[in-house]
């Protein structure tokens, strides 16, 4: 009925015996029984089964499940996903963290979200950190009074458009009603004040926080401003402007004549969110953090959505074309082709330069909820192969594709994340946009489609969800990848093993990597990393018998004769 697409096991590295199955075995070897049982379901060989009907069967990855206590994990908390990731990049909301000081301090400017304010008169609170800095007394007697006072003080000092309140772990426990207080203050101050119950213990990772954040933005902000938008207007959902990525995309869209109504949430403002429902098409970049918002907007306002990816030159071109194709307009198509034509020569030039230096090298990617997938594009443009990958906080659909959505079981950790019930808005639903979507689908255009990471990865590669430190270390020892992509917590242990680590959360303070210009930046960066001479100099030349002894001897510099003296 169905059969494996390849016959032999893929070799991941080292010698030919290092197959995905062998590596998997080693990663699991020393776990206590209970932990092993759990990890077995999250470390999976990408065994692709092709049905006769052209269908693709992928193994199940038990993603989005709780990290076992004591495991050194990459993951952060719900609050980090809510305040840090989703609301962090919006510049004109005063974000007050209700809790002791730490949670607020650590999310202060650490995610590298860039923002561009047109003038000094425009609000920008991203450089600020606001906290109620709860004391013991607040923990014992409740912190509601303090929160109310903090909101008032923020208002008096800054008169912002909106104030958002974020609950941290202890607040959930002592039961401060942040929503009630926000509602009261909203009434009292006459500005929008809303709260997020994003206590860190909710859900299993940042992903829960994305959901809570997006739900509240959907409830409290989207739909507030009905200003009309042009016929080629879109939202960009799930792009957070790390290292200036959103700037690159904004520029491309503008040159194509596509109006960007809002970005969730890179380089964004409150007003953009409020007006987002007026865009004609939603484009989803990071499927994990926001696909449900696209669904909710579609249900309530009629806006169809498509998946895009601006990481990788080919993917960028494809995404621009896909947007143009949706609007089905000759002028727009011409614009898009012109822009691609303007950008591509530099890309080809850069590929010509860097590809020979990188080709054949192997990458592994363990990061985020979409980047471990998207960045494989860039590596393949360099001729590099991804031999193992996994997400830090994605769900099954991000691995296996959206078709598994109906079969995902809701566990106790997901149950406490609110799913909004959304109906069509009687006044604001745009039937014309819905019809446009239906029309396009009839013509073979695909909406709401995401096949996930595994479909695009090679057969028999290794998928590791929520990789732990010990697994990462064993993986490196066995396959010696040429580059390891992860985050700050992994960066230096990986590099201590002599393997360069590219941070794909914060880009190692580099970037942008989106779009065509970003792709070129990335090629250059990877060339720098995989070819840096320093990695071959780790062993001291006096330690003989090291395998690379020849390679590491100092460069020959002729020194036989002293310089002739110029004195008589």
């Amino acid at each position: 009925m169905s059969e494996s697409s390849t016959t032999s096991d893929m070799v991941l590295g080292g010698d030919a015996s290092v197959t995905a199955a062998v590596v998997r075995e080693e990663l699991l070897r020393d776990y206590p029984a209970k932990t092993k049982k759990k990890r077995e379901k999250q470390i999976v060989i990408n065994d692709k089964q092709h049905g006769d009907d052209g269908s693709l069967q992928l193994p199940v990855v038990a993603a989005n499940s709780r990290t076992v206590p004591g495991i050194i994990s990459q993951r952060g908390c719900c609050y980090a996903g809510c305040k840090g990731v989703i609301l962090g990049p919006t510049r004109d909301i005063v974000n007050i963290v209700h809790g002791p000081i730490g949670c607020s301090f650590y999310s202060w400017l650490t995610r590298r979200n860039q923002t561009h304010t047109p003038t000094d008169e425009h609000d920008n609170f991203m450089t600020y950190c606001f906290s109620t800095d709860m004391t013991e007394e607040n923990i014992i007697f409740g912190g509601e009074k303090r929160l109310r006072q903090a909101i008032q003080e923020a208002y008096d000092l800054f008169h912002p458009k909106a104030i958002a309140v974020f609950s941290t772990c202890p607040v959930g426990l002592i039961g401060d009603d942040v929503h009630q207080i926000s509602a009261e203050m909203k009434k009292q101050l006459g500005i929008n004040v809303f709260a997020f119950s994003c206590e860190g213990y909710k859900g299993v990772s940042q992903s829960a926080g994305h959901h809570i954040a997006n739900n509240q933005i959907f409830k409290h902000v989207i739909g507030e401003d009905d200003t009309q938008r042009s016929k080629w207007s879109i939202n960009l959902l799930g792009e957070y402007n790390i290292g200036g990525d959103a700037f690159v995309i904004e520029d491309l869209l503008e040159r194509c004549g596509i109006e960007l109504v809002s970005t969730f949430s890179g380089n964004s403002t409150y007003d953009q969110f409020a007006n987002a429902h007026m865009a004609r098409l939603n484009t989803v970049m990071c499927h994990r953090s926001i696909n449900y918002v696209a669904d909710m907007i579609e249900k309530k306002y009629g806006t169809p959505w498509i998946k895009v990816n601006f990481i990788g030159a080919n993917a960028t071109a494809k995404s621009l074309r896909k947007i143009a194709e949706y609007f089905d307009d000759r002028q727009l198509t011409e614009n898009v082709e012109r822009v691609i034509g303007e950008e591509f020569p530099a890309v080809v030039e850069a590929q010509r330069k860097y590809r020979p230096r990188c080709t054949g090298k192997r990458a592994v990617l363990f990061v985020g909820g979409s980047r471990a997938h998207h960045y494989q594009e860039l590596f393949s443009e360099l001729g590099m192969e991804t031999i193992a990958a996994g997400y830090e906080f994605a769900h099954r659909d991000d691995y296996e594709g959206r078709q598994v959505l109906p079969s995902i079981k809701i566990d106790a950790d997901s149950r406490n994340i609110e799913e909004l019930r959304v109906d069509a808005d009687q006044d604001k639903f745009r039937e014309s946009d819905r019809q446009q979507g239906i029309q396009r689908e009839k013509q073979g255009y695909t909406l709401r489609e995401y096949d996930g990471m595994m479909a695009e990865m090679k057969d028999q590669t290794l998928i590791i969800d929520d990789i732990s430190h010990s697994e990462a270390e064993r993986l490196i020892k066995m396959v010696r990848p040429d580059v390891f992509c992860a985050g700050i917590k992994e960066k230096y242990s990986v590099q201590k093993m002599g393997v360069p680590c590219k941070q794909l959360h914060n880009y190692d303070y580099g970037g942008p990597y989106a779009g065509f210009a970003g792709a070129i930046n990335f090629y250059e960066e990877i060339d720098r990393m995989v070819n840096a001479r320093i990695w071959s100099r780790v062993q001291p030349p006096w330690e003989n018998g090291t395998p690379a002894a020849d390679a590491i001897s100092p460069l020959p510099i002729s020194m036989e004769e002293p310089e002739e003296s110029t004195n008589p």
Partner: protein, 464 residues
């Protein structure tokens, strides 16, 4: 374009509830840092996984080194029923997979609010056979709604004494002193060990993050690098002749604990940053080595004095704004006054009764020219408001000061924690005479560089 565009001078209204741009962070990160200074120890954060992730990230960004720590990964269920089963499972996993000798558990706001009893859970783990022979689980209580990062450092350091130190005899080992270095860089701990050795004394320095957070690149990642105070040494600390606690906030409690538990007398000194503070440290060490100060140390001091006399003209009557941890601020202020820079604004979010008095001792007759603020409302926003009203020549503090620096055109010397935007600082000590030389060189460079960039063409000079 201004980065902190919403900060204004003028009349400053007192805030009761809102902290803006804090000059502190939470207890557990201090506890985690301290625990990394125990050889073969894995810090463990008993709470939700976010805290642990944040602490590891921040420490890694500062030290550019791996920071290994585990977490109890609380669920909503554990936050209701307590985290006992999480910690038991964590202990089993950690000893099986990562195999440290010591697990140093610290709590978070969450587990503290729940009221988990860590020693009791550890006891249970022991009964269940989850703690292998010879291995230990220690703990410190570190709720962030009291104290701040230095408090967490102090609590974990005191915990080391509580769990390990023993007095085996009323006769203490002459010529051996314990030194508790406080929250300083790995290079500072290394320098402190060097100074004590140069003074002819044996030392037990704890915690000790040298060779843990400044490891050489060898192509091998050691989960537990060679550095760190050993459990043996911590035990033996109870038999040392004396303890010198550097910095009352970070190091005081452990020294007191050691006196109470093992009868080791202690002296608490300011962090040896700057001339006078280092003098005090040397004088204290001299009490234990028969009164000798080797020429090597005297020469180092002499070179520092020489440097100050050479630099003094550029420092005289300059003003600075400082923020950070109390122990650092007291000594830094004294150093600045030594070279005639006025520490005009001094801010710490870390509470603690003695800080203001110590600042008073340091400032003496210049008190009236200086604003010092501590605790709630003592934050970078307030300091920036002061600066808007009356500028200073220099900023000294962590990386967050760079926003003020750029907006106001005031040079920043990075000091304290965290430094997120520069590499290599962990290799250069600022304690001792040599450390002071480094610090003053940095300060002068910052001032001169600004002059070179900003002065008019006709005033641009070759020799300065």
């Amino acid at each position: 374009m201004t980065l902190l565009r919403h900060t204004q001078g003028g009349e400053i209204t007192e805030r009761q509830a809102l902290t803006i741009n804090p000059a502190k962070t939470c207890q557990p990160i201090g506890a985690m840092y301290a625990a990394l200074g125990i050889h073969r120890c894995l810090p463990h954060s008993h709470g939700s996984q976010g805290c642990c992730s944040y602490h590891r990230s921040t420490l890694s960004r500062h030290y550019k080194e791996p920071v290994m720590a585990a977490t109890s990964s609380f669920t909503e269920g554990s936050s209701v029923f307590g985290g006992q089963s999480n910690l038991l499972q964590a202990i089993e996993n950690i000893f099986t997979i990562y195999q440290p000798d010591v697990i140093a558990v610290h709590t978070t706001c969450l587990s503290e609010t729940i009221g988990d009893d860590i020693p009791q859970i550890a006891e249970k783990a022991s009964e269940k056979g989850l703690i292998p022979e010879g291995k230990r689980v220690i703990h410190a209580s570190t709720p962030s709604y009291v104290g701040a990062a230095p408090t967490g450092f102090a609590n974990m350091t005191a915990g080391m004494v509580k769990y390990f130190s023993q007095s085996t005899s009323p006769n203490k080992v002459a010529g051996r002193v314990n030194v508790i270095p406080g929250w300083v860089e790995p290079a500072d701990m290394r320098e402190i060990k060097r100074i004590v050795a140069a003074m002819g004394l044996e030392s037990i320095v704890f915690p000790d993050t040298s060779d843990v957070l400044d490891c050489p690149q060898t192509g091998v990642h050691e989960m537990f690098p060679k550095g760190g105070v050993t459990v043996e040494q911590l035990r033996a600390a109870g038999d040392s002749a004396a303890t010198i606690a550097l910095g009352p906030v970070c190091s005081g409690p452990a020294a007191v604990e050691l006196t109470n538990k093992c009868g080791v007398p202690h002296a608490t000194l300011p962090l040896p940053i700057g001339l006078e503070a280092t003098d005090r440290f040397i004088l204290e060490l001299r009490k234990h080595n028969g009164g000798i100060v080797p020429q090597e140390i005297t020469d180092e001091r002499g070179r520092l004095i020489d440097l100050i006399t050479d630099m003094h003209q550029y420092f005289y009557n300059k003003t600075a704004a400082l923020w950070g941890d109390p122990d650092q601020l007291v000594s830094l202020s004294e150093l600045l006054l030594t070279v005639d820079i006025l520490p005009k604004y001094v801010v710490t979010g870390t509470p603690g009764k003695k800080f203001l008095r110590q600042m008073g001792d340091v400032l003496q007759d210049r008190k009236s020219e200086v604003q010092v603020r501590q605790g709630t409302g003592a934050d970078l926003f307030l300091m920036h408001q002061w600066i808007k009203n009356e500028k200073v020549d220099l900023l000294i503090g962590n990386t967050y000061g760079k926003y003020i620096s750029r907006d106001e055109g005031i040079p920043l010397v990075r000091h304290g924690f965290p430094i997120l935007d520069r590499v290599g600082h962990q290799f250069f000590p600022t304690v001792g005479y040599r450390g002071a030389i480094r610090l003053l060189e940095q300060i002068l460079e910052a001032l001169m560089q600004l002059q070179d960039v900003e002065c008019s063409e006709e005033r641009f000079e070759l020799t300065m």
